[in-house]
Amino acid sequence: MRDLLPEEAHARRSLGRLVHERMALFGYELVVPPAFELAEVLERGLGALDPADVLRFVEPESGEVAALRPDMTPQVARMIATRLASAPPPFRLAYEGTVLRRRQQRARKHRQIPQAGLELVGVAGPDGDVEVLTVAADVVRAAGVQRFAVDLAHAEIVRCLLHPYPSERGHELRDALSVKDERRVAALAEHPAAPAEVARAVTELPSLHGGTEVLDRARVLLDSTPARAPLAALAALVRAAADAGLGAALHVDVGEARGFAYYTGMMFHVLADGPGEALGGGGRYDELLACFGASMPAAGFALDLDHLAWAARLNGALEPRATRVAVAGWPALGVELRRVGVPAAAAPEDDAEAWARASRYTGLASPRGFARFACGTVHSLPPDAAAAAASLQRLLGEPK
């Protein structure tokens, strides 16, 4: 848990607004799900999350078990299946808010994650996939992150390849694949139930990632396995995404095993220097809506706004600073400034300038003039409050 002090809160708000504006350009409308939800609803669509990572409590009025949302996708799915059931698909919904997770075992223990994301419901296959990828890349670029990678995978590849193994062995293989433990994967892949070409393909999975050229190597390896079809789907998606302008950012991970129990098609992560983990990610989950009684194809993604801001800083994106004027000994000027949309607050009588500087005001206005801190300049102001406000508004270029 942590506080955001004014400057950080302002930067977060601006980033959230920017992300939403970009999503709105693609037609995504904001919805606001509640902070907690019946555990039973959330657990229908927990996805890749460990049930142990969910914070639960008993809701005193109903006596039901409620959970602090670890993810907003199940909530949006519930909204679509119930509240919007009579509206025609496709649905394009965006959300922003805090999700909560227990992460006891990790080095990173952050529990509260500021998240923004979207759901595209009712558009199947590559068209929907490319739209989701395009919006994700657009948002990341707009936030000021120029250097990033979109790591693409397909859930059916690992699912098909692990299918012949008995369930216990399958789980062990999935765990080993998800940490790309080459030796362990090789040791587990040999099994009487698995055809030789499947075992050979599984053994190679941990190293089948990188640039799009990996697809050629994968095609040879997976050709005679049931994973041939999903690999072709992944290759087609890579081509479509490249046509949509994502070419330079595309990476492929044929052996991605995280979340394959939840996703039914493409999966992706957005990676950039900085936070040391993905900025966010998403994929296609065509079976999720059926859990809420409205069977429809769906895809989406979510970004961690803290991570996005971190990566943007490293890319040299400037954090927005709010323009605010401290007013000393001139209440009428404050009134006039607010009338024209310039934030203004009264400074204390003693040490007005020191206070205004410490509180990060843009400058201090008084009958003696306006001292702008960043430039160290003093501008004289007309004695009439309305005229002074107009002059300051021009000077500060606010509102835009």
Binding site: Q105, A107, R108, A149, R183, A272, A278
Partner: protein, 204 residues
């Protein structure tokens, strides 16, 4: 530049030998100074010298791209990392051991260990209830003074067990030193990480 976290201590010399065999410049590992951060001459790789338990933390946060860490530490604390290679060094076993002689082990034994989570999982899988007692070291002492009935600890030759009148009951985990990688860096810096990992893969 690639940042690699290495554990200070007894495993370091063995790691240096592996790097040399792989054709990588191991000279920063062989230098005997107190600097905690040393780069190779060509400036391509920077090594961070850390307490073994801290290596995965640096890598998970992305402060280091790669690291060398024991399977025991990784499994006990559950880091979110890739673990592509087993380097074949630092091999030992994590075992359950009991005192010699005919002392009876109670239905719900007390188990002293530094690896509380691994031990708990191990006994739970066998349907054995236990009371796990966390101790930071000198685990062999615990059964001798009545703190515990069993211990779960790492053994190499078994000499320490024998000296303290203990013997192995079963193996919990085969331990070795793994190459671990930050999940984002493994993809983002593939151009730098790839050749480094390939070189090590050829000799392991």
């Amino acid at each position: 530049m690639l940042t690699v976290a290495v554990p200070k201590g007894r495993i370091l010399a063995k790691l240096g030998a592996v790097l040399t065999r792989a054709g990588l410049d191991a000279s920063p590992l062989e230098k005997d100074d107190r600097k905690l951060e040393r780069a190779t001459v060509d400036g391509r790789v920077r090594y961070l010298f850390l307490k073994p338990d801290d290596v995965p933390t640096y890598v998970e946060y992305g402060a280091a791209d790669l690291g060398f860490s024991g399977r025991d530490v990784l499994d006990e604390r559950g880091y979110d990392l890739y673990r592509p290679l087993d380097l074949g060094v630092g091999r030992c076993r994590m075992v359950v051991a009991r005192p010699d002689g005919d002392r009876t082990i109670p239905e719900v034994p007390r188990v002293a260990t530094k690896f509380a989570k691994i031990a708990e999982r191990h006994f739970a899988q066998r349907g054995v209830q236990t009371e796990i007692v966390y101790v930071g070291g000198s685990v062999e002492l615990a059964p001798l003074v009545g703190l515990a009935d069993l211990i779960v600890d790492l053994v190499e030759s078994g000499a320490t067990l024998r000296e303290n009148h203990l013997h192995e009951v079963e193996t919990v985990l085969e331990v070795g030193t793994l190459l671990v990688a930050n999940r984002a860096a493994y993809k983002l810096k593939a151009a730098e990480i790839g050749p480094y990992v390939d070189a090590l893969r050829r000799v392991t």
